[in-house]
Structure formats: structure tokens, C-alpha cells
């Protein structure tokens, strides 16, 4: 990818000189360069997502029975989340990724695509969606999450470079200054999780110990000003967003995170 940028920079820099020379002298026929895949610099890096897979393998003890999936979620109000297709695109090769009805998918390791610094591309504008790791241990009841699963989702998501909550202008600097350990291991890490439906209350339960999350841990920190929302990937999922105390070792990995939703599930008995 960096090579591609360097090449474009050189082309742009020498283009005026080339045009001037063309005006003065006859030139041999121009050579044609075939570019087989073009990639948006903000598409997800396959190498980074594989780093997320490596993290999952390293810290699998947090969720020993779970498998790793990734999931696409809407970021803009008009995002159409139906019929999404995904592929991994390298310089010379491309691989289609099957997408499940819930817009989750798995990645496989491909050495050639790693060598080619491939990108993971969707048939949607990149800014219309956000990405998360999805790690769900079997047996966790409907409407609940397991804290160890969330801890691992944070680490995988950060290592995989899935999160971008700053202005694009400063995203590179933000990436340089934030570490997985800081985001997933400190109280002000503020990694945003999403419930399946709009939430009214979130309760932690570990044996006899329970605690209701304070308001400031719901809705991406108690709500955001309208001019801040475009820089949060919680933009259209604000009512489903929450922070979990993944940094707090006093809550074991088997702690259940229980949701009370704003409304009953569609089709539920009144």
C-alpha cells in the first residue's frame, strides 16, 4: 500500500515536467500500466485484521469456548445493511468473504494476501459502516453478554484496527497515541460496545454481586453533542452503546452483562 502512495506521489511530482517536455519534443508511445485493484486508504488492513486474529489466539483464555467473528454495523442513518459483500483485495489476487445474515464473517490467513498488504473491502462506502470483533461464548443467555467475551472483543478490535472515532484528518495521530492496553485496560479507555437493541439499563452480575452501570457509561458517555457525533462510530447506534468495566479485574470473566431494553422485543407478548 505504501508503495502505491509513493508511486502516485512521484507521478504527481513529475507530471508538470513531463507535460512541458511533451510540448517541446516528440515522445515515444506512452507505456500503459494496468492496476488490477484500487484500494481506499481507509479500508480495513488485512494485515491488521490478521493481527487481531493473532491476539484472539494469544488471549483465548478470556473466552475459551468462543470463536472469532467480525461484524459490520451501520454508522450512517442511510446505511443499507442488506446484501453486503466483502472481499480481500491484494495487488494480484482477491478472495471473496461469505457474509452471514447478521453481517458477521470470519477471516482466514492467506500468506500471499499478507505479502501484498491486502485490504478488506465492502461494497459500501467505508464511512457508512463500522466494524467490530464479535466473540460470543456458547451458552450465554439471550439479552446478556459475558465480560470475558467483551474483554477479548476489545483487544482484538484494537489490534485489528477496527475502530476510528476521530476526525479523519487526525486519525493517523490518534492511532499512534492510543494502544490496545490503554483502551482495554484503563477506566477511561472508553471502548464502545453495542447491544442488539436500544438499552435503558445495564446490570453486571457475578454470583451474588450486582451493580448497575452509571448513566455516564451508557450512550457513549451520557450522550454526545451533535457536532461530536460524526466522529463517533456510535453515530446511529447511540441508543445501543455502552462502556463495560473490562479494565476492572474485580469482575471475573464469567460476569454476565444484562440488558433492560427501552421497549419489548418485536412480537413479544404485551
Amino acid at each position: 500500500m505504501r508503495r502505491l502512495f509513493r508511486s502516485w506521489f512521484v507521478v504527481a511530482a513529475v507530471a508538470p515536467c513531463a507535460l512541458a517536455a511533451h510540448a517541446q519534443t516528440a515522445q515515444p508511445p506512452m507505456q500503459t500500466v494496468i492496476v488490477k485493484n484500487t484500494r481506499d486508504p481507509v479500508d480495513k488492513s488485512y494485515r491488521k485484521m490478521v493481527k487481531g486474529m493473532d491476539r484472539f489466539a494469544r488471549d483465548h483464555a478470556l473466552a475459551p469456548q468462543a470463536e472469532l467473528r467480525f461484524r459490520l454495523l451501520p454508522r450512517l442513518p442511510n446505511a443499507d445493511m442488506r446484501g453486503i459483500t466483502l472481499r480481500i483485495a491484494g495487488d494480484t489476487t482477491s478472495q471473496v468473504l461469505p457474509v452471514a445474515p447478521d453481517n458477521s464473517f470470519t477471516l482466514v490467513r492467506n500468506e500471499q494476501l499478507l505479502r501484498e498488504d491486502a485490504a478488506v473491502l465492502a461494497n459500501r462506502k467505508t464511512a457508512s459502516m463500522t466494524w467490530r470483533a464479535s466473540i460470543v461464548s456458547p451458552g450465554v443467555p439471550e439479552g446478556k453478554r459475558r465480560l470475558g467475551d467483551l474483554r477479548l472483543e476489545c483487544k482484538v478490535g484494537m489490534d485489528a484496527g477496527l475502530i476510528s472515532n476521530t476526525s479523519p484528518m487526525f486519525a493517523w495521530l490518534s492511532d499512534a497515541l492510543t494502544s490496545t492496553e490503554a483502551v482495554c485496560g484503563q477506566p477511561d479507555g472508553n471502548y464502545v460496545f453495542f447491544a442488539e437493541r436500544p438499552i435503558f439499563s445495564v446490570t453486571l452480575r457475578a454470583g451474588d454481586r450486582t451493580d448497575v452501570l452509571p448513566f455516564k457509561m451508557l450512550y457513549a458517555g451520557g450522550g454526545k453533542a451533535p457536532d461530536e457525533l460524526p466522529y463517533c462510530d456510535c453515530q446511529v447506534l447511540l441508543d445501543r452503546s455502552y462502556y463495560a468495566p473490562i479494565w476492572d479485574a474485580s469482575w471475573p470473566d464469567d460476569t454476565l452483562v444484562e440488558f433492560e431494553y427501552m421497549t419489548d422485543a418485536p412480537g413479544a407478548a404485551p
Partner: protein, 100 residues
């Protein structure tokens, strides 16, 4: 990269950070319980009786309002109200007192 440029960029990035949300208006717990009744109280009635406070409006039309009640030891309990798109209170909940 020169130091002033880095400082400028860091300053701009800091400007993107979110300031802590203000806490809700403090109202005695008994008054909250008697004033805010699910499926009965409206947003307008709550506003008239308790005054404005911290709230979040969602694209769905729902809102959540946050009041706080003083407790012992300088602590406050949270009182959270769900208002539906029609402006009617649908749910309330109270969180045990904690330090702000």
C-alpha cells in the same frame, strides 16, 4: 516533525476529545417518586415540576432524562427516566447512591 507543529496537532486532537457530561439536576428522591409516574406523566409535566436536566435525544424519538438525588456522605443516586416519542414517560429506574 518540528515541536510547534506537533503541539498544534496534539492541541487539535485534544479538541476532538469529549468533555465529561454534566450531572443531572438534584431533586429529592421522594419528590421524584411522587412526580414521575410511568405511563402517566408527560415530558411537559416533568419539565414543569422538576425543571430542566441532562437528557439524551435519540433518532427513534425516545429520550432519557437524568435526575440525581442527594444521599448521605456526599453521594447521589441516579434517577433515569425513559420518555417515548409521544412524550409520555414509559420507564424509570434508580441507581444506588455513589460519589459523583
Amino acid at each position: 516533525m518540528k515541536l510547534p507543529v506537533l503541539a498544534l496537532l496534539l492541541g487539535a486532537l485534544a479538541g476532538c476529545a469529549t468533555a465529561p457530561a454534566p450531572i443531572g439536576t438534584a431533586i429529592p428522591a421522594a419528590k421524584l417518586d411522587s412526580t414521575v409516574v410511568p405511563n402517566q406523566t408527560t415530558r411537559a409535566q416533568m419539565l414543569a415540576a422538576l425543571g430542566p436536566t441532562k437528557f439524551v435525544h435519540f433518532d427513534s424519538g425516545h429520550e432519557v432524562w437524568l435526575y440525581q438525588s442527594p444521599a448521605d456522605g456526599g453521594r447521589f443516586s441516579e434517577f433515569v427516566v425513559l420518555v417515548d416519542p409521544a412524550g409520555v414517560v414509559r420507564k424509570t429506574r434508580r441507581r444506588a447512591p455513589s460519589l459523583p
